[in-house]
């Protein structure tokens, strides 16, 4: 799993591609924890190239959201419809703000 991290003035952006499932969710968790361990709690997750998220992935994002709030926030960008629908269907969509483009998400911090 390739994970790219970019630091901006007020937030950190993370990007990966493909699937997030039980085989690699902990790699994503580690990358996100590296960010929060530096005291950076404003995180933009660019999901434009992510095409599948299993519950193992959602728990990683929920866990990081708990760490980030209330001093910061993890926001999601360009979430594919199927992924977003599945999250909303189980009532967990409300835990994340979503954006349609990276520029707006980064600019909002």
């Amino acid at each position: 799993m390739e994970i790219k991290t970019t630091e901006f003035k007020r937030c950190t952006m993370i990007k990966t591609s493909g699937r997030i499932d039980g085989s690699n969710a902990q790699e994503l968790a580690q990358a996100l924890k590296t960010i929060t361990s530096k005291g950076m709690y404003n995180i933009v997750f660019d999901m434009s190239e992510v095409n599948f998220v299993a519950s193992a992935g959602w728990w990683v994002l929920i866990d990081i959201q708990k760490t980030c709030k209330p001093s910061g926030e993890l926001v999601l960008v360009k979430v594919e419809k199927g992924i977003k629908d599945s999250l909303n269907l189980v009532g967990m969509g409300s835990y994340f703000r979503t954006y349609d483009d990276v520029t707006t998400a980064v600019g909002d911090f």
């Binding site: 699937r19 499932d21 039980g22 599948f52 519950s55 419809k81 199927g82």
Partner: protein, 137 residues
């Protein structure tokens, strides 16, 4: 469409997903219905590997796809300990973020994603999970 056997490794989840995606496409399911099947089968396979067998092991997971007149039937067979879904607590959703506990989401998703879900644990060894997704149209 026959049965395909996968060894019990989380690294095989993508291959399992590819197989059921092929089945769902053949069955003529829509894009969102295909995603629902992918997610349900991924969650079920992950549960078998992590909770049924207990992580990586040489055991089998057999997946059968059957195209129905109005959708797709997927049956997953394992040799793990009998599983009783009634014993799994439902995840608490719509609660404050800090109260959210990581449990039961996989099974909950399976039921939400599929139209019919049936677990048949056998008395001695193994489980059969039958899931059906109907066309919306």
């Amino acid at each position: 469409m026959g049965t395909k056997r996968f060894s019990c490794s989380l690294q095989n989840l993508e291959e399992i997903c590819d197989y059921v995606t092929h089945c769902a496409d053949e069955a003529g399911l829509s894009e969102s219905e295909v995603y629902a099947v992918q997610l349900a089968v991924d969650e079920a396979s992950t549960n078998i590997m992590e909770h049924g067998y207990g992580r990586e092991c040489p055991e089998r997971i057999d997946i059968t796809c059957e195209i129905l007149e109005d959708g797709l039937k997927v049956v997953i067979y394992d040799d793990a300990q009998p599983f009783t879904p009634e014993g799994v607590p439902e995840p608490e959703t719509n609660v404050p973020l800090e109260d959210l506990k990581p449990r039961g989401l996989g099974l909950f998703l399976i039921h939400k994603m599929m139209d019919e879900v049936k677990y048949e644990p056998t008395a001695d060894r193994g489980n059969t999970l039958t899931m059906i997704k109907h066309h919306a149209r």
